[in-house]
Symmetry: C2
Subunit: 384 residues, 2 copies
């Protein structure tokens, strides 16, 4: 059996102090229903990706809470968590629920409300996605973890500070047309390398922001999905794990879980990296996008930067990446994996803010923590 | 396709200060592998139920962490959360992963490390399973929520304080033979009604404890499961949601999600309440077990206490409930749903600490929060 995305909805991302996590989730879910032309009573189960509402807003048990809030009672609700890959994880569990024969139409949401805490508290909460006993407890933040990877990569492959800056410069440029982006202004390489130091070599403009936001999609099994005008088909996916702490890894310049997840996804989809028309990758820090190019097979090891220098991953290039601006312009952690799928759906429907001409196949790459979880999903315009 | 439990393992429950959540999880997982006669390399995916490690020990991203700790990398890992129903939720998602055709053998763990916080902090963390905006924020704890239900039930159905005490008295008696129980001593009705008041009418001995502990099971698809000597078959399950806050409910004397989940489970299993030989029910507070009898169809509404007075749910009775002592003698919240399944497996294998003669069918009833999530699963000795 095949599964397709038949509806999508998202909120803007940003410091949305006037709305709660409930409000944001309800807004995204309602927009997804509206987009699909469905009503709440059509939804058979709810899945929600959320990293840490327990710490961000003092609320666990989000599955039932969102089901109640959306008026969907008494359907079953599932919250999934794998740090910043919680969204893609929820998608995969929802997918399995359809493939297992239990459901025909389910909603998958992702949401996070991060700005109710101080920045320091939010950074400490995010650090709970790292290894508490080996890393977070001694003060290693996520910027610190990715800074270690960035420094190692730069030394090993001769990546310069200026070249690294090309990632956020591209993504901010893409975000200019994205109405949901937290930031809609262009930045230059000079802006990046002169922005405040966060964790050497990473500066403020290398980092994704702390964001509020929610995203929701509706997925359906083949029989039902075919009744919709523009279903976007899931054609393959992979999910793999690695050590949570960096010290246990064989390499600091690639994410082995992402390599493994991509390998499984390509095999299931029956496509190769060159068949991908556009991708949403997990650019939580600038170095992460360059490593993703290589882990996903878009560039040979150590050559990721060439896709940036040549403009191939810019809109108009051969294979645009993060056409909505990526995580750099909004990263409500639990929502990110779903928001990535939404951008792919928009591209494959031909209705994206930066439309890739004749996009047929899109790939989403969602990473949890510093790479302990990686999930890759591939979608196609055709295939029903 | 059918699915069976082929291996089980658990730690003792209690204040286990000398062991971390990693240690406990590894111990339970290793025992499950040993019980199944399998090795780590045989496991294709890991699911873990955990309510709030982010708050209890500052660690999110438990799926990958436990996969690493157990030496199972790079298999996919999923953490599921639905408050105290996180264990049964993880079981259901694992079940779907097998039924979807993605895996043949998976491990499902449940774990919680609750005693690293002060009791006050632990109670506040547990309150995050209630509605933060409507209940927890104004100081309503779980003892308070269940006290409201107990008071309502007692007034409406004429349940006396002494009759309510029969629940923990029975469960402590059952726990005398359970080597994993946090408490192994008998208590009397007088002990219960003279124990310190927690939230009127509930007293200390009406409440399940704050516990550390972990439990793990290994489940397999039909083809693989048949190779094991004593597989215990899953024959039906249901999962439903209700409002998180009590004020939104139609009734305070039953859990509508549990009634719904049970209805679905009985239908899928093709059995009726009278066919159940033993059950593990969610007795987080004494009143919850009496409501469970009625929600599950073991007794008519308002008559649940009669099963206690007559001794029918005591070991030796017609349908023993909580034969290992239930939540009253250990409730590491994320582990509870898995621990319940383990007790059913032991009973159906004929190897329980309080063996029910010729037990063929067992039922597990796991509740999240004050009833916003309810999951019922039914297992059978035969059916492969």
């Amino acid at each position: 059996m095949k599964v397709a995305v038949v509806g999508v909805g998202q909120t803007r991302m940003g410091e949305i102090w006037e709305k709660s996590l409930r409000d944001l989730s309800l807004e995204a879910g309602s927009l997804a229903l509206q987009d699909a032309g469905l009503e709440g009573k059509d939804i058979e189960a709810l899945f929600i990706g959320n990293m840490s509402a327990g710490r961000f807003i003092g609320q666990e048990h989000l599955g039932a809470l969102m089901t109640e809030q959306a008026g969907l009672l008494p359907i079953p609700a599932t919250r999934c968590e794998a740090a910043c890959a919680s969204g893609a994880l929820a998608f995969r569990k929802a997918l399995f629920s359809i493939l297992s024969g239990h459901h025909e139409i389910v909603m998958v949401g992702g949401a996070e409300k991060m700005t109710d805490l101080s920045t320091g508290q939010a950074v400490a909460t995010l650090a709970s996605a790292g290894d508490q006993e080996w890393e977070s407890h001694i003060g290693l933040t996520f910027a610190g973890l990715y800074a270690l990877m960035a420094r190692y990569y730069m030394e090993k492959y001769g990546l310069t500070r200026e070249e690294l800056a090309l990632v956020p410069v591209k993504n901010h440029m893409h975000a200019m047309k994205n109405p949901y982006a937290q930031y809609r202004y262009e930045i230059t390489v000079e802006d990046v390398i002169n922005s405040p130091m966060i964790s050497d070599p990473l500066r403020l403009l290398d980092c994704s922001p702390i964001s509020d936001g929610a995203a929701a999609i509706i997925i359906a099994g083949e029989k039902v999905a075919k009744k919709f005008s523009s279903p976007v088909w899931f054609i393959g996916g992979g999910h793999a794990s690695d050590t949570v702490s960096l010290h246990g890894r064989k390499s600091l310049s690639s994410l082995s879980a992402a390599i493994k997840a991509a390998e499984i996804a390509y095999r299931q989809a029956g496509v190769k990296p060159k068949d991908i028309d556009m991708a949403e990758v997990h650019d939580c820090f600038s170095i992460a996008e360059i490593m993703a190019y290589e882990d996903l097979g878009f560039a040979p090891k150590g050559k990721g930067k060439e896709l940036l220098i040549s403009g191939e991953t810019k809109i108009g290039g051969r294979m645009p990446v993060n056409t909505d601006g990526g995580l750099k312009v909004g990263h409500p952690v639990g929502a990110t994996g779903i928001k990535q799928i939404i951008e792919i759906v928009r591209q494959l429907r031909g209705k994206a803010c930066n439309q890739v001409r004749d996009a047929k196949i899109g790939l989403a790459h969602n990473v949890g923590g510093s790479g302990a979880t990686a999930i890759v999903n591939i979608f196609s315009r055709e295939g029903g």
